[in-house]
């Protein structure tokens, strides 16, 4: 009996996915026998835009690559610029950067845990995740004034200091999560349905994780003991003694399935809480930025020549930025944005194989994809047959015209 397969698209717009990406799945019944992934729906040409902006302006561009790991993106970018221009960040600035990175990790992982539960139809846990992440967003707002794009990083340090009030708010948050986050720990360890849905689903073997260059929690769940905070300590992590969280240390074996990815992320939240406490306890005195005057920084950057590489452990895996500065050119000559999803997405087809259609959104979500991060030209479809690229002016005219139509004469 020959199997008759048919193709079902997951995406580009799909309830279970937070962002646009398409996975074409060849199905035999419910079983996935082939998969093709096509990104590109949200490529915004951020790398092109960076060529017309100076490093300080690019900070705010880089921050808008993604909404969850905005600070990771700028930290990687700033480290690349600092590497190219040989700038040294003061110790307090480094500690504060690490602190915000950990806050962001907590935010990202809690959001992910909620969305993973949503993917398996466990809406109550999803709502709980949404509720819980409010707290860390409030803390970020208390410190920076913003919930998503904090605008707190700058070349050579950070822009705001941690005041005693902020310190107290963060410690309060740490206590809150230590008691409340256990709900997700219970889901991983106890909920039979979560286990039935996630165990042995979307398996990425240890060898495949290495070959396909998987990163972050995805690689760690496959048993790869990698964590840049440990293997290449940046900012304050050299003083903090971070150990990579791998499932074999906790449950004896790493199977590399969605369940292990959930477990790794849940455990990393607790690790981040400990790290934040350590950072707050050991926060050194001193300046938070190497040079307060932006004009001086810009003139220094204008003289700088060279290529810099910044790489950090973002919540989803390692985040790389490569920046080239040319002496006499105040703008970036070029830069390369490499978000974790860019690397982890290569693993999707392997993870899909042999799983069911019902697992597909969960598998896509299991690497915590950030499609906006991975892609960086806005093309709109006129919707009437032929495709047409609209300029910003045309769009503006169109929207003005519509406003006029709606307004009574």
């Amino acid at each position: 009996m020959s199997a008759k397969t048919y193709t079902v698209p997951i995406g580009p717009v799909h309830v279970g996915l937070k962002e646009p990406i398409t996975a074409w799945l060849d199905l035999d019944g419910e079983k996935i026998v082939g998969a093709r992934v096509r990104p590109g729906a949200i490529h915004r040409g951020i790398e092109m835009m960076g060529r017309e902006r100076n490093p300080i302006q690019v900070i705010y561009l880089a921050e808008r690559i993604c909404g969850i790991c905005s600070f990771s993106h700028i930290t990687a970018f700033l480290r690349a610029v600092e590497d190219a221009a040989q700038i040294q960040v003061p110790a307090r600035g480094q500690y504060i950067r690490s602190l915000v990175l950990e806050l962001e990790r907590v935010h990202s992982h809690i959001l992910w845990a909620g969305v993973a539960c949503y993917s398996i139809g466990f809406d109550s846990a999803f709502q709980l995740g949404m509720l819980m992440r409010e707290r860390v967003m409030d803390v970020l707002e208390a410190y920076t004034g913003n919930r998503v794009n904090y605008g707190v990083g700058t070349v050579g340090g950070v822009r705001w200091d941690i005041t005693p009030e902020v310190d107290a708010v963060i410690r309060d948050m740490i206590r809150y999560y230590r008691s409340e986050f256990s709900a997700f720990y219970d889901i991983v360890t106890q909920d039979p349905i979560a286990k039935a849905r996630m165990r042995d689903v979307g398996v990425l073997s240890y060898e495949d994780a290495i070959r396909l260059c998987a990163l972050g929690p995805t690689a760690r769940a496959s048993g790869v003991r990698c964590d840049l905070r440990w293997s290449a300590p940046y900012e304050a992590y050299g003083d903090l003694d971070v150990k990579p969280v791998v499932p074999q240390d906790y449950v004896g074996e790493a199977r590399g399935d969605v369940f292990d990815r959930f477990l790794v992320r849940v455990l990393e939240v607790y690790q981040s809480l400990d790290l934040m406490e350590k950072i707050l306890d050991g926060l050194p005195e001193g300046d938070i930025v190497f040079e307060k005057s932006v004009v001086k920084v810009l003139s220094l950057l204008k003289k700088a020549e060279g290529t810099g590489w910044g790489i950090i452990e973002a919540p989803r895996g390692d985040d790389s930025r490569v920046v080239h500065l040319t002496s006499g050119n105040e703008n970036l000559t070029w830069w390369k944005v490499r978000a974790p999803t860019y690397a982890n997405a290569v693993s999707w087809p392997v993870m899909f194989m042999g799983n069911e259609l019902a697992d597909a959104p969960l598998i896509i979500n299991s690497i915590d994809p950030c499609i906006s991060c991975m892609e960086r030209m806005l093309v709109t479809n006129a919707g009437t047959g032929g495709e047409q690229i609209m300029t910003r002016e045309q769009l503006l005219d169109l929207s003005r015209e519509k406003t006029r139509r709606l307004m009574p004469a």
């Binding site: 048919y6 193709t7 079902v8 799909h14 309830v15 279970g16 199905l27 019944g29 419910e30 539960c117 949503y118 993917s119 398996i120 139809g121 466990f122 809406d123 109550s124 846990a125 709502q127 709980l128 509720l131 909920d191 349905i193 979560a194 039935a196 849905r197 069911e356 259609l357 019902a358 697992d359 597909a360 959104p361």
Partner: protein, 332 residues
């Protein structure tokens, strides 16, 4: 005289079906609010399902180009009709079923199955691959939960027959008039609990919510078999979903919780009927909250393979255990 009876039955039947529709939507609203509160949300207004239905009734029906239009359009109506008819065979409180003499538990179960088949047909007819997946899942799910359901129903009928309850074994009125809990022994009580529990576990499958939200799983197959439906057709399907939850809760109430409040406090005549009528819907409401709302709020969704395994092995096992316990109770 004959004509008058028919006319009366027509009036009563229409009134009951209309009431069932309104109550189903009302309970749906309550279900949404309780679900929201359990998730620490505020939730929609109580009458939101009514607003939804009214809005959908005013919307255009869109039929996909490649769909088989007549099946696609008639499926929601057939599904709704089959669900409404169920209430004509259901004794409400101390009132006998309107068409009590014409059909029994078997017919009700058949109608529940027919409703699922209609929806699956609508999904297949829409020509959408995702709806196709959803319809396949609906069929598989039905085949899975029908076994425990059939075991529960036939055991109940067997109990009615062997314990010599007055009335026809398959007729629901028999169970209302003589609560089964009073006639069986200790092992029998345990058996009945097994049957009740098996029946409760069938509910998520029957209503397609929570644990068994598989044919309409929105994060997997984008509402599955109803993906192509819009406007009036979608309104019919929404009503069908609400009625299914109400009907299955009503069946559980009739079979397992037939306690009459009116008889308990010694009412008779009109008062008895009126009080028991209200009391019946209160019981149905409580059953619905427990078996539908609580279950869907606290559990995630299984995969179709796991769901059939669950029904064929676990739930069927439970119902057969109930059957054996009741047999033992009767024989010894």
């Amino acid at each position: 005289m004959m004509i008058l009876t028919i006319l009366l039955k027509l009036v009563a039947g229409s009134a009951l079906m209309l009431l069932a529709l309104l109550l189903a939507l009302l309970f749906d609203g309550v279900d949404r609010i309780i679900n929201a509160r359990m998730q620490r949300r505020w939730g929609p207004p109580l009458f939101q399902p009514f607003y939804d239905i009214l809005k959908l009734l005013g919307k255009e029906n869109i039929v996909p180009r490649r769909a088989i239009a007549w099946i696609f359009n008639s499926a929601p109506w057939m599904a709704l009709a089959s669900m409404l008819v169920v209430f004509l065979y259901m004794p409400v409180g101390s009132l006998p079923a309107i068409l009590g003499g014409e059909g029994d538990l078997v017919l009700i179960l058949y109608m529940l199955g027919f409703c699922g088949v209609c929806m699956a047909l609508g999904g297949f007819a829409s020509s959408n691959p995702i709806a196709n997946v959803g319809a396949q899942r609906e069929m598989i799910l039905m085949m899975s939960y029908e076994l425990p359901l059939a075991v529960v129903a036939s055991t109940m009928a067997w109990v009615a027959y062997r314990y010599g309850l007055p009335g026809e074994a398959w007729n629901l009125e028999t169970f209302v008039a003589n609560p089964v809990w009073n006639v069986v022994g200790k092992a029998g009580i345990l058996g009945l609990l097994c049957l009740l529990f098996a029946m409760v576990l069938v509910v998520p499958g029957e209503t397609g919510k929570g644990l068994m939200d598989i044919p309409e799983a929105k994060t997997e197959i984008l509402e599955g078999l109803i993906i192509e439906y819009s406007g009036v057709n979608l309104a019919m399907l929404k009503l069908t979903f609400a009625l299914r939850a109400l009907a299955i809760s009503a069946i559980i109430t009739v079979l397992f919780f037939p306690l009459s409040l009116g008889k308990l406090i010694g009412f008779s005549g009109c008062f008895l009927y009126a009080l028991d009528f209200l009391w019946f819907w209160v019981k149905v409401f409580v059953v619905l909250i427990v078996v539908v709302t609580f279950m869907r709020s606290s559990l995630g969704r299984l995969k179709i393979g796991q769901a059939s395994h669950f029904y064929w092995i676990n739930v069927a096992g439970l119902s057969i255990a109930g059957m054996l316990l009741l047999s033992i109770d009767r024989i010894f």
